[in-house]
Amino acid sequence: MLSRVADSLYWMGRYLERTEGTARLLDEHLTLMLDIVPASAPMRWRRFLSSLCLDEVDRPGYDARDITREFTTDEENSASIRSCIAAARENARQVRDTLGAEMFEQLNRAYFFIREASFDAIWDEGPTEFLRRIRESACLFHGITDSTFSRNEGYHFIRLGCYIERALMTVALIDSYREFYSDSEEAASPTPEEHLDWITLLKCCTAFDSYRRRYTAEVKENCVLEFLLLDPDFPHSVRFCIDRIAEGLEIVGQNAPHRDRTSATRIAARLQADLTYGSIEEILAENFANHLSTLRQRCELIHEKVNAIFIEYPIERELARPSLGESGEFRMPSGDTLIRPMA
């Protein structure tokens, strides 16, 4: 597969995941605002922004309508759903010969849906309906992909993109709740409003139902964190994502002829081991904020390695491989004739 194509598929996967995640976060936060006292809304909106890694600037006001506009139809905001879908589609457009026709059409429909959408109409009808359609668009794309697309390298690059983005989003979401975490071993029972916050955290990852089946309806901090970080079966847990990433790297790495492919699988496998054999008690006993930031760095390192191994590898290394020459007559290039592709 062309490196450029692999890169576009990977980013398409990331942007789609981002689209779905943003829609869900926004929907859950709008719902949460209905239940809480207005005075505490800014704190929740700050948390929403922080979970999207957008918490640099403090805002003068936190108006639900403005924020919803900003993260749905706003073209100027590169983090809006519209921008994410446009970016996913643009990546898809660059590789549409690789995608199935139905896959592209689905993404294209989503793009035209949001491009034609009027924010006032979305707001008047209640944004939930709109956000549901956005989530469905992403789900539909994945469904079409699963049932029609060959499990080739391209498929695995799409999945790698999705799972890297999802892992990063889950980590950022957990991190955005940092003010909530108790310092003591024995946490006090949450207030009803705090309870809602915990439920929102779970719902932002579609985890509420699965959580209850696993731990019952009792929402406890360490159980929530254990579930979101370490659960082997839940598709949005960090461990689940890393497991899939490790598998994916193993598969796409099979074709890579060079030694450094092991560097990516090694990072993923070590992270996988930490998440498999770590316990939530251990993690919470350490500096939890540091732990999360290390997790994020390791995910980012995997991203960088994927890029360095499959996408932007140095041509010289490749040309030094003897198998490239005609009937074995190939010698090391003297350095004067290396032709590089245009940047």
Partner: protein, 493 residues
Amino acid sequence: MNQTQTQTTAAERDETLPPFGNYHLDHAYDEMFESASVPRAQYAALHQRVLDLSREEFVRRQKAADLSFLYQGITFTVYGDKAGTEKIFPYDLMPRIITGAEWSHIERGLTQRITALNMFIHDVYNDENILKDGVVPRELLASCKAWRKEMRGLKVPKDRYIHVVGTDLIRGEDGGFAVLEDNLRVPSGVSYMLGNRTVMKKILPVLFQRYSVRPIDDYTQYLFQTLRAVSPRALDQPTIVVLTPGVHNSAYFEHTFLARQMGVELVEGRDLVVHRDHVYMRTTAGLRRVDVIYRRVDDDFIDPEVFRSDSMLGVPGLFRAYQKGNVALANAIGTGVADDKAVYAYVPRIIKYYLGEDAILPNVETFILGEKKDREYALANLDKLVVKAVGESGGYGMLIGPHSTAAQREEFRAAINANPRNYIAQPTIMLSRAPCFVDGQVEPRHVDLRPYILYGDEVKIVPGGLTRVALKKGSLVVNSSQGGGSKDTWVLY
């Protein structure tokens, strides 16, 4: 997404008018009607179907077709329009129908023409017999912009130069087909031909079934075989790629479409690297040798080391690999020498010279403005002639005499006098007219026909082609960049 360009407003339109109430014949050949309200035999069923369907039903189906193109992303980019503007290529629901007899005449004519033009290109880059024998003047080629001196004596696989051709045919007032233009470089539009058929079968299945239409779906398979036939390495599965200028090119959809349909990689210049005169593509598994490039990048941009050095689209060193015979290009470099508008005038003589046959498909009468006699005639008759700049395509750089203003004519007069070799003139050709669905009414519009010819081991033409429509009432310009649309084209058995 308004497809039509008509100026008619709802108030002017008579809702009670029958579907063909606005259909008036003039001296142009009419594809559908033999005489007022008597359809030709092959159009009878279509005519009846239009009468059977309600106006609302037609409008509904037209909308469904438009949306289908939009969602499938069958769009093109308009140059000079707002950056990144994607438009669907306006599509007219009513098919254009060609009889089996008409088609076999076209097929023979095109096969003859392509065979001769390929021999001509080989000759002018090698033995120059046709120049030595004085059939085509040497200075005509010397002044041709598309002439590539680098191609002299260069051996190409199987002596094939023009692997993919899109010849523009028109139908004169007598109904006879004639060649308007040979497109021997990187002709586009074949994806619309195939896309139109797919949509047609979904939108008007009953009508389609009533006719026995010859299928065109095997085009991409033939294209693949054509490309494989010229691979320098005799492999069962040579590595074939489609080279695109990128996502901003107006025909980008087509490039992706053809790559997908053939099951080959779509590459950009930056994906390719030349080392020791071999071409490789950058894959996730390292570099992989490329054998055949179906390039949709013009000669000028294909290799900055040899042609335009400012090209960001090409592949440095590609021409060296080509020269050494390590990679095949389709079409070959320098084929524009044979579709130059001035060379066009000589094509009937070229056919006679190489094949000893008269041209089956005639040319349109052409005045070569580089020649004194022709120029004097043309300058005296600018208001009756169509003047074309020889280096331009896509309907740009054209003067349509009868529709021009005095100021436009003076502008062209000055341009012709400054550089006469750059222009040809032709009588205003009355393109034939076919029924189109415009604003709830069937009206005649001018059409041409671009069949697609493949030339690998042998000449292969899928039955039909792209019928392009000038959707503006009375307009003779069918190019997509100038408000043209297209129709599905049915060739019957």
